[in-house]
Amino acid sequence: MSLGGRNRGSILDKPLSRGKGEVSLNCFALLFSEVVQYCQNKSQTLPELQNRLHELGRRVGVKLIDLYFVRERNGKRETKLLSILLYVKTTFWKVLFGKEADKLEHSNDDENTYYLMEKEPIVNKFISVPRDKSSLNCAVFIAGIIEAVLTGTGFPAKVSAHWHKGTTYMIKFEESVVGRDNQMEDR
């Protein structure tokens, strides 16, 4: 990092914005459309395209962790599995998308898996998926954001996006996460 020899104020000297800025949805929709096209041009296959979108989402997510915890929670992070999930569903979703996510469910078959559901993610609002690519869900970008936030706050997980009741994000935590959480409960 080139901290020395800089005569103008760096970005860290500026006060943190309150994050209340708003931009037209059309702008975002068109920008996201270009993001998808850019990724598509770089990809040969559908999974590759999804991976690229997922990866870009993860990079966005990483940057949101500190920003939101500092601004919304005075820098205090979550230690319990359920609290971090609720944080994502409520606070986080509300700041980022203006509303809470619709539903959070625990899988019946696998205690490591949770589902976060949203009828209409804003990224999908203006996307019509071509018939030959019907499995493509561009909300995989948002799945990437969630994955980065969970993993970056100490709850390593894999998050994917699926077409089910709108869009369902499948959150699969590593076993150690649930194990640790159970241990904390016991105490």
Binding site: G21, E22, L30, Y38, L96
Partner: protein
């Protein structure tokens, strides 16, 4: 008019846009060889957005034809307000009245952004130039647009220059008068 009010409420958090744009730029910097290539690609992306955005602008504002370039500059201002939520100033008109500058004191695209020293050639906001060019091309105005000053490079404001080249003639489809 009820339609326009409904559409006006559709906003998104500007940080989502900032970071999405930022990761896209970062990805391009990785994928492409030179900053110059990234600048071109960003302009291209803006152009693609502009040619679609103009329709939304026309239908939302119900605006008519511009009488002169001053009129056009005013419309561009209202588009900035509408879509990015910022209010630039129009200054530095050329003597012939065919060139002007848009001065942005703040810019949602560059919030949270810092350019590393090795990317001083990068025109981070080149997308905006592309949007202007694309949108105006769809209303038969051929313009050039480029960045003169850049807050990311230590300038006080961001200055975008727009130069009128020529009016494009309507190309009528064959068989129609």
């Amino acid at each position: 008019m009820s339609r326009s009010t409904r559409f006006d409420t559709k906003k998104v958090n500007s940080e989502l846009v900032t970071l999405t744009y930022g990761t896209l730029v970062a990805q391009m910097v990785k994928d492409l060889d030179t900053a110059e290539d990234v600048n071109k690609q960003l302009e291209r992306i803006g152009y693609n957005m502009g040619i679609r955005l103009i329709e939304d602008f026309l239908s939302r504002t119900g605006t008519g034809r511009c009488l002169d370039l001053k009129d056009t500059a005013d419309k561009i201002l209202s588009a900035f307000r509408l879509y990015l939520g910022v209010q630039p100033n129009v200054v530095n008109w050329s003597g012939a009245g065919d060139e002007f500058s848009l001065i942005l004191e703040s810019n949602p695209l560059t919030e949270l952004v810092e350019l590393p020293d090795e990317l001083k050639q990068l025109k981070y906001c080149n997308m905006i130039c592309g949007v202007i060019r694309g949108a105006l091309e769809m209303v038969q105005l051929d313009v050039q647009s480029w960045i003169v000053q850049d807050q990311l490079k230590g300038d006080q404001n961001t200055e975008i220059r727009v130069k009128f080249i020529r009016r494009l003639e309507d190309a009528m489809p064959a068989g129609e008068d």
